[in-house]
């Protein structure tokens, strides 16, 4: 007998999404392998965030089927966590860093005594060890986004959805966080579904890049990114293959637009 291939982590099967009488996404068919880092990019209005919200269970597909590890999606699940772009709104301003991470553990019903060591580990992992008792308003943008990532990791997700998580950060912080997320995902073998409008970011991070085109949002191209890991902000970005793929995708986005 043939060995069955493992169930895809995320399987989109002819997904269509209509919102307010308008078709936002149409005919999206795509399999994401377990442990894969997949980047979805495209111009604004191409429905990339909507696609992420479908996976999160926040938006229901109007047609087609979506399954996670072979199970159809019924709504939000603790196995899937989301890092939102607007960290300032996604964190609870009245709880300190440790309290924000604790929220995910409280949702899972973990006893308080068990929470403390785990929170410490998670905050240390994102470099916020010494900031456990600071409130979000006292942290920089990069630190707030790290805190949100720590809260997502506290959910111990199988799938991590990231919606333009670094879009509002400065270039330096952004590159730092890109590398941290790559390291975290590799360490935990988490499947990452990363939405961005930045072509270079998509190529730098992804195992594959999915390019969408707008009106209505549809798949334009799926590109394999066979660049060596671990990636390096200088070497990877200067690699001839990186540059060739960048040019290729750039031209494609502009021709068909």
């Amino acid at each position: 007998m043939l060995a069955r291939p493992p169930e895809p982590a995320i399987a989109f099967d002819a997904i269509r999404v209509d919102l307010g009488g308008k078709t936002i996404l149409t005919d999206i068919t795509l399999d994401v392998k377990p442990g894969e880092f997949i980047c979805v990019m495209g111009p604004s209005g191409c429905g990339k965030t909507t696609l992420l919200r479908v996976v999160a269970g926040l938006v229901q597909a109007s047609a087609g089927k979506l399954s996670l590890f072979g199970k159809p999606v019924q709504g939000p699940s603790r196995k899937v966590s989301v890092v939102f772009q607007d960290y300032g709104r996604a964190l609870l301003p009245w709880r300190d860093a440790a309290g924000n991470v604790a929220l995910a553990l409280e949702a899972a019903g973990m006893p308080r005594a068990e929470q403390r060591p785990l929170i410490e580990t998670l905050l240390a992992k994102v470099g916020l060890k010494d900031h456990a008792h600071k409130f979000p308003g006292q942290l920089s943008g990069g630190m707030q986004q790290r805190l949100q990532i720590a809260r997502c990791l506290a959910q111990d997700p199988e799938i991590l959805l990231m919606d333009e998580p670094f879009g509002a950060l400065d270039a330096m912080t952004r590159q730092q966080l890109q590398d941290e997320v790559l390291a975290l995902a590799a360490e935990r073998n988490t499947t990452v579904f990363f939405v961005t409008h930045d072509l270079e970011e998509a190529l730098y991070l992804g195992d594959r890049v999915v390019a969408l085109l707008p009106n209505p949002g549809r798949l334009a191209r799926i590109v394999d990114v066979p660049l060596a890991r671990p990636r390096n902000q200088l070497a990877t970005r200067e690699h001839p293959d990186f540059l060739a793929m960048r040019r290729d995708l750039f031209d494609m986005m502009h021709e068909t637009h």
Binding site: G75, S81, G88, A90, P93, W94, E106, Q155
Partner: protein, 252 residues
């Protein structure tokens, strides 16, 4: 330096008024010199009448506020949680809310007679509506992103209420309470001036009727000080309780 600048204008006015009433304005039967008003208020403090009147007014204002605000805040918060409840209640709220609270003086007097019940009922009515409306807004305008976070993270609906909705609404609810506290004092004194024979408002009326403008002006300033004190206290409390939260909304 800042304090000196802030105090410059009031001090100038006081000195000017003092000079006027010692010179051309001496013998006025409707107004009095600041020094006379000050002396009158010290005297009233000494013989206990001011303390009694202050206690009566504050008791009525705070008692009425406790009833009106707690009912308004709880009901408003609950209504704000449901779009259906908002739609069902808004027409009735808009019907009753515009009734001026002091227009209820004759009715409340008939029902309760003179005294605390009478005054508190009017204060409660006056503070109920702003609390209801502001608490409803606080509950219905919670950052949508936080509600999404609570869904994605898997909070139960009870957890969502106590861990997200209530704490998120708290700063605005406190603002409602602060506004209502201001109303409560104004309405209590108004009721005393218009009808209820007790408290600071009544003291003002007696001073006026017995042609003692200095006591009247002194009491007026005293009432102003109390209002300022209540507001400053609540402001400080708000700053302490919600120092990590932006109260007016916007970017944290």
């Amino acid at each position: 330096m800042r304090l000196a600048k802030a105090a410059a204008l009031p001090l100038l006015l006081i000195v000017g008024a003092e000079l006027w009433f010692r010179g051309p304005g001496a013998g006025s039967e409707s107004l009095a010199a600041p020094s006379a008003a000050f002396a009158a208020i010290v005297e009233a403090l000494g013989d206990g009448t001011l303390v009694t009147a202050t206690r009566q007014t504050l008791t009525a204002a705070l008692g009425g506020l406790a009833i009106g605000a707690s009912a308004g805040l709880v009901l408003g918060f609950l209504i704000g949680l449901s779009k259906t409840a908002i739609a069902l209640s808004t027409p009735s709220v808009e019907l009753f809310r515009p009734i001026p609270s002091v227009a209820l003086i004759p009715l409340a007097m008939l029902v309760f007679g003179f005294g605390y019940g009478f005054e508190m009922s009017i204060v409660a009515f006056a503070t109920f509506w702003p609390c209801l409306i502001l608490a409803q807004a606080a509950a219905s305008q919670i950052e949508p992103r936080l509600m999404e976070v609570s869904r994605v993270i898997g909070l139960s609906s009870t957890q969502r209420l106590f861990k997200i909705v209530l704490p998120a609404a708290m700063p605005r609810i406190f603002v409602a309470l602060r506004l209502a506290a201001g109303f409560a004092l104004v309405v209590a004194v108004t009721v005393e001036i218009a009808a209820n024979p007790q408290g600071l408002g009544y003291m003002l009326m007696i001073a006026q009727q017995s042609l003692r403008p200095e006591l009247m002006l002194g009491s007026l300033i005293w009432i102003g000080l109390i209002g300022w004190g209540v507001n400053a206290g609540l402001n400080a409390l708000q700053g302490r309780l919600f120092r990590h939260q932006q109260v007016a909304g916007g970017k944290p």
